[in-house]
Symmetry: D2
């Protein structure tokens, strides 16, 4: 049997020895181990794959809890298939990639439902027998809109909410309801072109590369911990339209990669950054 | 005989036909031709390599001048070896790469002299029999410092001034003295981390890539037309020091590439952007 | 009205002048022009976008034909939406990407049908209301199998046949029936790991990058003109399985890019190479 | 005090626990730890940075030796500055980069001497006060040539021999004299274009990317364990000359990166592959 263990705690001398000793006592053999110390935050992070017959998971948890620094966050065998809700506006590329992977069981998560503030992507979503919720933001207050969205999301009890080119700004109240659980794809290499219309601004600035950033959403718009970023070259022949078209490829790739990393429990959050054990 | 022709002018119908006709009249055969129209600025750009016996370069110039839109900038056979002055502070990597290429005649430019606001790179520079001017910025006004620098530069009558990790901010007065002739390497993927300490700020923001930007210097610091940009991935294990070390490789590569493009007359400036015929 | 013109012919002095002159006579204004001379083959290639009212397309064709070197291949306004047949085996990623783009009208081609030598991808294909033809290769000769495939393909009269991870080797007879019209995605950076099991061989060789290649299919397996190639880094932690998984992302991206370039008429074939006006 | 520990041994259950326990007994605190198991070869690899007062290095070595599997290769605090001899022919770019880093103390190795089978790079080398040995291969047998080279190399007792674009094929006898200690830069993305004239063959094949590979040299030419590889895009406008020019940039970068990894003791060899703890 394979097991996965994640620990985040304050750093101190001898942690690896202690943890590996406890695993050894439980007859678990380490097959892969990653660790990192964020010295600025004095935080220790580890992700351990091991194999063996784990007789008593609860006992292992409590033994670790007892010996590790107070406040340690310990996860043993996090659930393999995460549940997600995807939010979209009109652009199909990130949703399309996600639903195709989902259909062929390679997303690493179950898509419970899709919420669109426009109806455009409904027909496509329903081809895959996934509920599509059209919740328009028009003619209602932001509070009202978000209340409706929250109701749908909470009905699914998802692990993560994926903003797959959802083009409305969500309120701090909304975001704080799902802390460290909302993942957004931003269409620039943040912190460049933070905010609206990044491709237009990239065009106007005359940059020679464009990019995409997947990040956790916090109260500060586009300021949350970055999970993954990539760039691709552009040149003077690219107008805004060409940048948008090329950018879609990289947005799709970056969001997909970020979801994979998160769903495989490879990502830790430390302050406003991430530790990613690729 | 090979010839190189560069034209920048307002766009209108039939320019390519007109230009190629005139070249044909002068018995010049086009071997490579690039053209671009900046529709926003209504500007036409072309770079043409051709071969043949050009009997009267002046006649060709005047015929083009006469038939092309008023204000056309026409360059026939720009000088092959540009003259440059390099300005540095303490970091060696960009200067080192430049002087090695220069020594082996592959820089495409003659390095007339190197100016350092510290003396650190003097010994290295002089190994290559290139004059090193140590002009300290200490204990003098910016005006005084820049006046001394300008005197040295102007003594060489260079085509370009290369800021190869020169870490002082130059005044608008300085910059306007060498319009479109100063090239700077900035250690971030502009417009991200514009200004000072980009690696520290990249580290604090937790980005997953770092970059470098070579650009022409205008009055607005770090806001001039971008010539070349590249990024490389980083991860949570990179502290500021590791970012600086990795960044040097890309700074060197980006500045080197930008210089090559400019020295081969492949770069046009249009507004705050560049057209680069790679 | 926008028009697109493609010309391939033997090179000689003054071609650009001649062509632009003829376009000018037909009141066509060039908006974008690319040209290239393959000196080894003495071949000239151009792709010209122009605008204007083209009164007589046939007259333009004949005037070009008359003035250009004998044997010139001239195409005026190639059809915008190509027709394609996609061939697959069991892997979904390239097909998925293709059908999603098709559904949202951004593929630049009409998918007439999908042929699978296994039935695995039938359900998925039919979600998009595209005919799926399961033609098993089992218990029949290669000739018989290919005859059945050819019958289906020819029924659709497609412009291109896309081998989207079709894992059977096709005979020279099959390939020669669709000259310069079959596009394959090979899962390595050819010519490395030509033939079968490239990821296993990449793993055994201990390479530090893997790649994908889209190419036209000729009689020589994996030896046809390359349209697009990309690589991504791997490291010692990648087993064959991880290489296959990572490789899928790049296979998808490379095939997608190659299709876009071909469908936009940006690709010429010269000998065993391509000229790609990106 | 910081210490570095490298271990390579057969894999078995509990190795990490044992090793970290022994380090703990010696009051060493782990600051960074990497480990990998090559399951095919049943080999365990670890590289551990730790800090603390190591009273008795020899005692630590023997305790590890006693408790780890027989045949374990244990290195405690490998020497920080490696000694190298660089071999060149006529191309300067890799040597130039190496000597500039060396001059500014950022190579991580001491360049004892440079051997050239032509005299071209002598003047450059001697600028940096490094001995240049011109050993011509002309008018003598390969045995004689290599005997002269070996004599010079062995006089310096270097840790590594760097083939920085040394364009002669060395005999198996030569290579076996410096096992796992010769590093070569090959100008292609091996295994593509193994052997001579890779750029010419890349041009003829019409590839859309070129690359470079740094590898340890074994008896089989270009077949040794790969340390680092990178590729860059090319297109139809690249002739052989342009590929050579662009390729130099990547050869320089790849060799430089490989040297850094080896000199920082981040590279292990397992069979014909490397484990690289970047």
């Amino acid at each position: 049997m394979n097991h996965l263990l994640r620990i985040q705690c304050s750093d101190r001398v001898g942690l690896v020895y202690q943890i590996t000793g406890i695993l050894s006592n439980h007859s678990l053999n380490i097959t892969e181990m990653r660790e990192f110390v964020d010295n600025d935050a004095n935080q220790f992070f580890t992700r351990i794959s091991c194999e063996g017959t784990l007789v008593d998971e609860s006992a292992l948890y409590h033994e670790l809890k007892q010996h590790l620094p107070e406040g340690a966050i310990i996860t043993i065998n996090p659930k393999k298939e995460k549940k997600i809700v995807v939010m979209v506006t009109k652009e199909y590329h990130c949703l399309g990639d996600t639903l195709v992977r989902h259909f062929f069981n390679s997303l690493g998560a179950k898509v419970c439902g899709v919420i669109g503030n426009y109806a455009d992507l409904g027909e496509f979503t329903e081809k895959f027998d996934i509920p599509f919720h059209h919740i328009s933001h028009l003619e209602k207050s932001k509070e009202q809109f978000e209340a409706e969205v929250i109701q749908v999301i909470e009905g699914y009890e998802p692990d993560y909410v994926i903003l797959a080119k959802f083009m409305r700004i969500l309120s701090p109240e909304f975001n704080s309801r799902f802390p460290e659980r909302i993942i957004n794809i931003h269409h620039s290499f943040l912190p460049a072109f933070i905010g609206a219309s990044p491709y237009r601004r990239a065009f106007e600035r005359g940059v020679k590369l464009i990019g995409a950033t997947a990040h956790f959403v916090t109260n500060d718009l586009d300021e949350g911990p970055i999970i993954e970023q990539q760039t691709i070259p552009v040149n003077h022949t690219f107008g805004v339209t060409e940048m948008v078209t090329s950018g879609k490829e990289i947005e799709k790739a970056v969001l997909s990669r970020a979801m994979q990393l998160v769903f495989e429990d490879r990502v830790f959050i430390t302050g406003n950054k991430t530790v990613v054990f690729e």
